[in-house]
Amino acid sequence: MVKLLCICEEITLEEVQRVIEEEGIKDLETLKRRFRVGMGPCGGRYCINTILRMYPQLFGGTAKGKSDTELNVPPSRPPLKPIPLYTFKEG
């Protein structure tokens, strides 16, 4: 069974685990830029939370009791959900 860690970009858990190991990725911000996790239409709502739940399996250690800053959780950027560009057109 294929386990998707990121639905928007269709990234599997297996691939993420392999690359973290091979490329020595140690933090969420780098993982984000490597796989575009958190950069798709969900804005990280699904994938970042999944990654945090799986933190021990992915990065070792635990995410429990640690702040977003300590865990390098990428900041949320507006808009909260995707909206069409015509929303901003003047005239």
Binding site: E23, M39, P84, L85, Y86, F88, K89
Partner: protein, 378 residues
């Protein structure tokens, strides 16, 4: 720990410096980044690459840089560079005349730009022409995804044995007898440097250099950028509406990036609704199809501007082994391959190879030898 070369800054300039040094077999290269690779301006830029500038220094350096981009695409697995061109939409007679002269100038330096008439523009992009009178087209220019650049170069550097230290802010550089002797990481760990210290920390170079008494005329210039969800690929060249300083670029993933001139105070990175309105209103006039694309994110990144909008490259005054590379005024990413190679030349040969690089020393500001550039946008 003793290191041969300490590079401060994990953006494109630092990474390319590490790459060209490592490729020459230099050992003990250590790169220190305050946050993660690409936190500064590289991870926030649009990824455009062009040699179609308005100054000899920029044109010549960028011609060299483009040839490096083409090699890097072969040398670094995963790195993407496509020569899809740049297109400037010109909406006034004055702009058309100025760009005819600009194109002739660029042609004389071997950059094959040309003026396109209205009907020719449609052959390059699917556009509603509206008030566009003509366009300047640069087929040699292109785009390189900054995110792919970051992870592919990171992976290659690890293979080459470069030590990358992330979340490792350099808080001090200790100097004695006209030489940098060591750097301090996070106010606690001292790292001895036997060779060179390269300061390639973008806008943050100013803080690092001021701590060692070197003044540098650098101004932060925040610029907004937006990205949309993936959209069917329809526009190849990075396209600029010259009159308003707006641009649009679509990368291989299909995401559209749209920027525009929207001046804000130096330290103000607040997201402005007005930017979105301006960028979308102007670009949709020519490319109405973008109106159905969904906005994903908006962010702000810095240009690090110098008074003459040209970079600062070279050793700092009074120290023989500190090299600074900053002040790219919005062009650091596209220039990073040639700049990285020139810093390698300074370290290994004692001087840069290109005469243009020699004109970029910090001392030019005190000596009043400022360079000229007129084609800046976005």
């Amino acid at each position: 720990m003793v290191v041969e070369v300490a590079i401060i800054g994990g953006g494109s300039t630092g990474l390319m410096t590490a790459y060209y040094l490592a490729r020459e077999g230099v050992k003990d290269i250590h790169l220190f980044e305050e946050r993660y690779l690409g936190f500064g301006s590289t991870g926030r830029c649009a990824g455009g690459v062009r040699a179609s500038f308005a100054s000899d220094v920029h044109v010549r350096l960028m011609k060299e840089s483009i040839s490096r981009w083409l090699s890097l695409r072969e040398e670094v697995s995963g790195l993407e560079f496509v020569q899809d061109g740049y297109l400037w939409l010109l909406t006034t007679e004055e702009l058309v005349e100025a760009h005819k002269r600009l194109s002739a100038y660029q042609n004389s330096l071997g950059v094959p730009t040309r003026i396109l008439e209205r009907d020719e523009i449609r052959e390059v992009v699917p556009i509603e022409l509206n008030d566009v009178l003509a366009a300047l087209y640069d087929p040699m220019a292109g785009k390189a995804s900054p995110l792919k650049f970051l992870w592919s170069v990171r992976r290659r550097l690890r293979e080459l044995g470069v030590a990358i230290h992330e979340y490792a802010p350099v808080t001090n550089v200790r100097i004695s007898g006209g030489r940098a002797r060591s750097i301090t990481i996070n106010e606690s760990k001292e790292v001895e440097v036997s060779g060179y210290v390269v300061v390639a920390a973008g806008v943050w170079c100013k803080d690092i250099l001021e701590r060692i008494g070197v003044k540098i005329p650098l101004k932060k210039d925040p610029h907004h950028l937006l990205v949309t969800e993936r959209y069917a690929r329809f526009i190849k060249p990075l396209t600029i509406h010259k009159e308003s300083g707006s641009y649009i670029v679509q990368h291989e993933t299909g995401s559209l990036l749209i920027g525009t001139e929207y001046p804000v105070p130096e330290d103000d990175t607040t997201l402005r609704y007005g930017y979105l309105r301006k960028a979308v209103t102007i670009m949709s006039k020519y490319f109405p199809q973008i109106l159905s694309a969904n906005l994903l994110r908006v962010w702000v990144g810095y240009y690090e501007n110098t008074p003459d909008h040209h970079p600062i490259i070279g050793t700092t005054p009074n120290t023989e082994n500190i090299i600074v590379a900053t002040g790219f005024s919005g062009h650091g990413y596209m220039m990073s391959p040639i700049i990285g190679e020139e810093i390698k030349n300074i370290i290994l040969e004692g001087k840069p190879k290109l005469p243009e690089t020699k004109q970029l020393r910090l001392e030019r500001f005190e000596e009043g030898k400022l360079l000229k550039e007129t084609a800046i946008f976005g």
